[in-house]
């Protein structure tokens, strides 16, 4: 069985599969449970300056077993309350990445500092929520803003900073390059795609907020394209996500250029047991395909020759 351990900047991961931000991430006990279920690490819910209830329900809609739409609205207990949840996850031995969101560079730096002080192993900056006014994509679609935010946080903390880039952009690779210039230790992608569902009988959007974000298998091809384009632009490691639910999905991301992975919606569709399915399956698959270590497969698809004219 091939070696799945990877190094994400200075953080060693027992396997590449991190719990994605926003899934099982509000409570420390849930983070600990994901770690015990075999995750290689856990990313917290994105935490803001104060408690936020999020949007009213309905907050989710599903499409068969291939798509999920959500507009939670970044509910979170706020950075004053959240350290006790991180402590529980760290207490269980988990590798923890603290996710934060904010409206500008100064607030990002302040929150990053507070989150880093909880003892998390790395930070992830949510520059990419597609449906929260004043946050996420709204602050993360301009390369200059991304660079400024990342730089401010990098200056404020000692842990590695991961910039989570939006796919809702003309050039996600350019945003990743901006994050790298700002000093990001890694970039992660993708967050959800801006999306909508309408109930035709009720003549209204299904989600209370109207617009939401699409995740799950449907977005895997989009996530792969983002990771692919980023790999051609940056040298820092890429954390790939979007629709990963099978070992082959994971390997597609790795070959497209991802060194670590996050898993979100699959936990709703397949349960938390998906972490063991992924780790066991990926180790076997790599072995079959002749890779002794996961790291050897990173970016492998970029090294194939293209047919003339393609």
């Amino acid at each position: 069985m091939s070696d799945l351990s990877v190094r994400l900047s200075s953080v060693p991961l027992r396997n590449p599969f991190l719990l994605a931000s926003g899934i099982w991430g509000e409570s420390g006990e849930s983070l600990a449970a994901a770690w015990r279920a075999g995750a290689g690490g856990v990313v917290t819910k994105s935490i803001g300056a104060g408690p936020r209830p999020g949007y009213p329900n309905p907050t989710v809609e599903t499409y068969g077993d291939w798509g999920m739409l959500n507009a939670m609205g970044l509910p979170n207990p706020g950075i004053d309350e959240y350290p006790k949840e991180v402590a529980i996850a760290l207490g269980a031995g988990a590798t923890v990445v603290g996710s934060v969101f904010a409206g500008d560079a100064a607030e990002f730096a302040r929150l990053g500092e507070r989150m880093a002080a909880t003892g998390v192993h790395a930070l992830e900056l949510n520059l990419s929520c597609p449906h929260a006014e004043g946050f996420g994509t709204e602050v993360g679609s301009e390369p200059a803003a991304v660079e400024e935010i990342v730089r401010a946080v990098v200056r404020a903390v000692r842990v590695p900073v991961i910039a989570k880039i939006t796919p809702n952009a003309a050039d996600p690779g350019g945003l990743a390059a901006a994050a790298e210039r700002g000093g990001a230790a890694a970039v992660s992608a993708i967050n959800t795609l801006r999306a909508l569902a309408v109930d035709v009988r009720l003549r209204r959007p299904v989600l209370a907020h109207g617009l939401g974000g699409l995740s799950g298998p449907a977005v895997k091809p989009v996530g792969l394209a983002c990771v692919w384009q980023m790999y051609e632009r940056i040298r820092v490691p890429i954390v790939g996500m979007g629709g990963i639910s099978t070992p082959d999905d994971a390997l597609e991301y790795v070959m497209a250029g991802a060194r670590a992975l996050e898993v979100g919606t699959a936990i709703a569709f397949r349960g938390v047991g998906v972490f063991r399915e992924l780790t066991d399956g990926l180790a076997r698959r790599l072995d079959e395909l002749g890779f002794a270590r996961l790291e050897d497969a990173v970016g492998a698809a970029h090294r194939a020759a293209r047919p003339a004219g393609a």
Binding site: E26, P53, G54, N57, V60, P75, G78, A268
Partner: protein
């Protein structure tokens, strides 16, 4: 499975509690819940109080703003339903004690129905603030269950908490299981009363819910998610959580002590 359906029936069960019936074909078991969408307002988890046949039902108590508006919903109104979600009561015990507080009878009545149909002996300890608020008293009686009542004001049955009635019943005769739903302090007392006698207790637990898909973490209860691992938990499982009877979480995930 989500569907938008027209409310087909409305019954005022008590002054503060209304049952809504609606067509919903999916199979369901007692203990399971649905997400009830009041378009333009909110979507709330509601246990199914009628689980059999194509016409399901929920029984809603006026609590906050949304549930109060649910009480005013007229037949014909379009509502959204998704589910059913969550686990169900294990119906194998032969002698069951049901302890229901407030709207807790909503989820316990269909469980009692099915247990009776399977030939179990069902005893019900039913509590409410006052006599008119005793939910499903007649429904329990009609299924030939033994029903013992407690009201806070003594307007019917024993005066005081239903937990006292439950403790007495546990002392009087042997039970294979206790099923309970109501305020968490009440359920804790039921667990304590049953423990010395070794009777397993199963509680239907409520937490704030959003996705109902085991994803968003809103309904976290220790290492569990009520929407997926529950809402029915054994007392043993609950003992493994620091939360039960101690705190729940608000919509932002903050811990709120009971």
């Amino acid at each position: 499975m989500r569907s938008v359906v027209a409310v087909s029936g409305r019954v005022e069960e008590t002054p503060s509690t209304v049952t809504l019936r609606f067509p919903f074909a999916a199979a369901a078991d007692p203990g399971q819940f649905v997400m009830l969408w009041i378009p333009g307002d909110d979507e709330l988890p509601m246990s199914l109080s009628y689980t059999d046949g194509p016409s399901k039902g929920v029984t809603v108590k006026a609590m906050g703003s949304t549930s109060r508006r649910v009480l005013d919903i007229a037949p014909g109104t379009a509502i959204g339903i998704r589910g059913p979600y969550g686990n169900a009561f294990d119906l194998s015990p032969r002698r069951v004690l049901i302890v229901a507080g407030g709207s807790g009878a909503a989820v316990l009545a269909p469980a009692a129905d099915r247990a009776r149909a399977l030939g179990a002996e069902v005893t019900v300890a039913l509590g409410a603030t006052r006599a008119p608020e005793l939910l499903f008293r007649d429904r329990f009686r009609a299924m030939d269950a033994r029903v013992e009542v407690a009201t806070d004001d003594g307007s019917e049955g024993a005066k005081g908490f239903v937990t006292a009635v439950a403790a007495r019943l546990l002392g009087e005769s042997p039970f294979d299981a206790v099923w309970t739903c109501g305020p968490e302090v009440m359920m804790r007392k039921v667990i304590e009363a049953a423990r010395p006698r070794g009777v397993p207790v199963f509680c239907s637990v409520e937490r704030h819910m959003k996705c109902a898909l085991g994803m968003c973490d809103a309904c976290a209860l220790g290492p569990y998610h009520v929407c997926e691992d529950g809402p029915v938990f054994s007392a043993e499982h609950l003992a493994r959580t620091p939360d039960f009877g101690v705190f729940h979480r608000d919509s932002s995930g903050r811990r709120v002590p009971f």
